[in-house]
Symmetry: C2
Subunit: 234 residues, 2 copies
Amino acid sequence: MSDIAAKVKVIAFDVFGTVVDWHGSVSREVADMNLGVDPGKFALAWRAGYKPAMREVMDKGEWVILDALHRRILDKVLTDFGLDSLPEQERQHLNLVWHRLDPWADSVEGLTRLKSRFIICSLSNGNIGLLTEMAKHAGIPWDCILSAENFNKYKPHPDTYHGVVRTFAAEPGQVMFAAAHHSDLEAARCCGLETAYIERPFEYGHNKPKNVAPWSANTLHATSIVQLAELLDC
Amino acid sequence: MSDIAAKVKVIAFDVFGTVVDWHGSVSREVADMNLGVDPGKFALAWRAGYKPAMREVMDKGEWVILDALHRRILDKVLTDFGLDSLPEQERQHLNLVWHRLDPWADSVEGLTRLKSRFIICSLSNGNIGLLTEMAKHAGIPWDCILSAENFNKYKPHPDTYHGVVRTFAAEPGQVMFAAAHHSDLEAARCCGLETAYIERPFEYGHNKPKNVAPWSANTLHATSIVQLAELLDC
C-alpha cells in the first residue's frame, strides 16, 4: 500500500465541476427550454455570479444558502438575457437544475471504489438539501454529505476544511481534499490537508478548455476520480 | 398510492434503538472484553447516563458532541463497576463501540426499499462522525446524515425537527419522523411532522421487554422498518 493510502482516512470532494458537470447539465436544461438564448453562455453567466454572491454573504456575516444565492443570480441573468417575462414557476424549476446535475462519466465508479477503503464525503458550497437531491439524481454514493451549510462559512474559509477534520476526529493529514480547482486545494493545504487535483478540462464547456497542468504542491494529480482510486490502491 | 405516501417527501429516522440495536451490540463487545461484569447491566448503565448528560449540555448552552458525553459517562460507569484500572487505550476503543452498532435484522432492507421513493436521513443525537462510521459498519444506505450536531441542539429540542424541514425546503407535513420512542415522536408531531412508530420490544435486551403498544396520535405504526416500507407502498 502506498504511504499516502495508509495514512489517509477521509477523502472530501469539491462537487461543482469536480464530481458533476455543471456547465453541460445547466446548458442542456436551458437548451430544452427553447428560450432563444445561447445555453452555454447562459450557464457561464449564471455561474459567474457565484463567487461574488458568496463573498457578499461572508462580508455581511449573515448566512444565506446557495439555493437562495442561485435564485438571486438567476433573476439578474434572466434580465440580462432579455427574459424578464419568464414566469415564477419556471424560474423556481430552473433554479433547482443545480439539484439535477449529471456526474462526469468516471465519478460514480471512482467514488464507489474509493468508498471501499476510505470515508468519502462532499465538501461543497452547495447546501445540504441540494447535495442530497443531486446525489440521489446522480447515484453518488457519499458516506456523508458535508456542506458549507454545516459550518456557516463558504469555502475557501478555513473553518470548512478544519470542519471536516473535526467532524471525523482526525488529524489534518488524515484528510485528503480532492478538487478540480487549484485555489480550493491551496486553501485546504493551508489547513494541513493532503490534496488531490482532478483534471476537468471541459468544466466550462468544450469551447473553453481549461488549463489542467499539475501544481507540484498537490499530493496527487489525477486525470479522473477513477485514476485517483488507482493511485490510492482502490 | 396511499395518501400519506403521496404527500411525504422525506423520512427522518431516530437511530439508537430504532435502526440499530445498541443494547445487544454494546453487551457483545463488553462480554468479549472479559471484564468480569454483567455485559447487559453495563450497557444499560452506560445508556442511562445519556439523557441527563444531554440535558446538562442544553442547560449550559455550550455544545458538546455525543462522543464526548459517552466518554464522560463511560468513565463514571467504569468506576461504578469497579473497573478503574481499565487503561486509557481500551477506554478510547470501547467508547467508539457506538460507531460499531449493528442494525436490527430488518433495517437495511427496509431503508433500501424506502430509499427508492423517499429521501431517507438520520435525525439522531449521535454526532456526524459517529453516524457516518456506523452507517459504513452497518451498511445503512442514508441519502443524508443529519444529526443534533447540525443544529447544535439535542432532541427533543424543536430546532432539530424544524431543521430537517428547512434542510429540504419542505412543508412540515412532507416530513415523516420514524422512531421507537413515543416521546421523540410526540416532539416531532408538535413541530407538524408526520410520525411513524417502529416496534423494538427488545431495545433494552431480552430480559427487559418494552411496551410497544400503539399510540393513536402516530400517523403509522409498524412492527419493523420493512413493514413501514410496505405501509408506504415501497
